[in-house]
C-alpha cells in the first residue's frame, strides 16, 4: 500500500517538466516496508486526488537519478522522481 505522507514523514517523490505543473514539484509517500515497484507506486499515487497525470504513458521515472522501468523495485529512503519526456537543450 502506498499512501501520501505528511511533510515530515515518508519518502520524497520529485516531479519535473510539464508533469510538475500538473501535480506539483514534490510530495511525500509512505512506501511498504519491503518496497514496491515503480509501476505500483505510479499506479497507487495516480489514484490520489491531483495525481492522475502520473498515469500518462509517456511519464518516465528515475531512482537515485537513473531512469528505471516500471518493474524496478524502490525502497524507502531512495531518491525517486517522475517526469515528462526529456525535451533536451
Amino acid at each position: 500500500m502506498v499512501t501520501l505522507g505528511s511533510p515530515d514523514t515518508g519518502t520524497t517523490i520529485l516531479f519535473f517538466g510539464r508533469l510538475a505543473d500538473q501535480v506539483g514539484r514534490q510530495c511525500k509517500v509512505l512506501l511498504p516496508a519491503g518496497g514496491c515497484t515503480i509501476g505500483d507506486l505510479r499506479h497507487r499515487l495516480g489514484q490520489q486526488d491531483g495525481y492522475a497525470a502520473l498515469a500518462e504513458g509517456t511519464v518516465l521515472a528515475s531512482a537515485d537519478q537513473r531512469i528505471v522501468p516500471d518493474d524496478h523495485l524502490v525502497r524507502s529512503g531512495q531518491e525517486i522522481a517522475f517526469f515528462s519526456p526529456l525535451s533536451g537543450g
Binding site: F16, L86, G88
Partner: protein, 153 residues
Amino acid sequence: MSVVARLLAVPIDPQAVLGDFLVDAQGAGAVVTFSGLARATDSDGGRIKALHLDHYPGMTEASLQAIADEGARRFDVSQVLVLHRCGTIAAGEMIVFVAAAAAHRRAAFLAADFLMDKLKTEAVFWKKEEGVDGSRWIEPTDADRADRARWSE
C-alpha cells in the same frame, strides 16, 4: 584530452569562453564551435519572450558530462567543451555552447554535430516557451529523434 561539461544559471559569454578554449587548444589544427540561441518566435510565428529550462539538479549535470564524454570517446578530438544554461533564458540569449578541437577538421565537425544531436534528445531538461499569449511545454519531435538516430551504431 580535456572534456568539460558545465550547467550554468547565468548568461554564457561566448567570446570569453572561445578565447579560453583556443588557448587550451594550442597544437590542434581545427576548432569547431556551435552556439544555440533562444528563438524569438515559435513554430507558428508567435512571439516568444523567454525559454524556461527545468532541470533535475545532479542528474542534469551528469547527463551533460556523459554526453561530452561519449563525444570525446567516439571521435578523434583533443578537447571538448559543453556549456548549457538552465532556468529562464531571454529570447536571443545563448542556451548552449559546444566546442570541439582536433588535429583535423572532420573529427571536430563530427564531434560538434554529434554532441548537439545528443544534447537535444538526451540531456535532462524540460523546455517551456514563454510567449506573449501564455506558455507551452516543448516535447521532443520526430526530427529530433531522427537526428539522434543518425549516430546509432
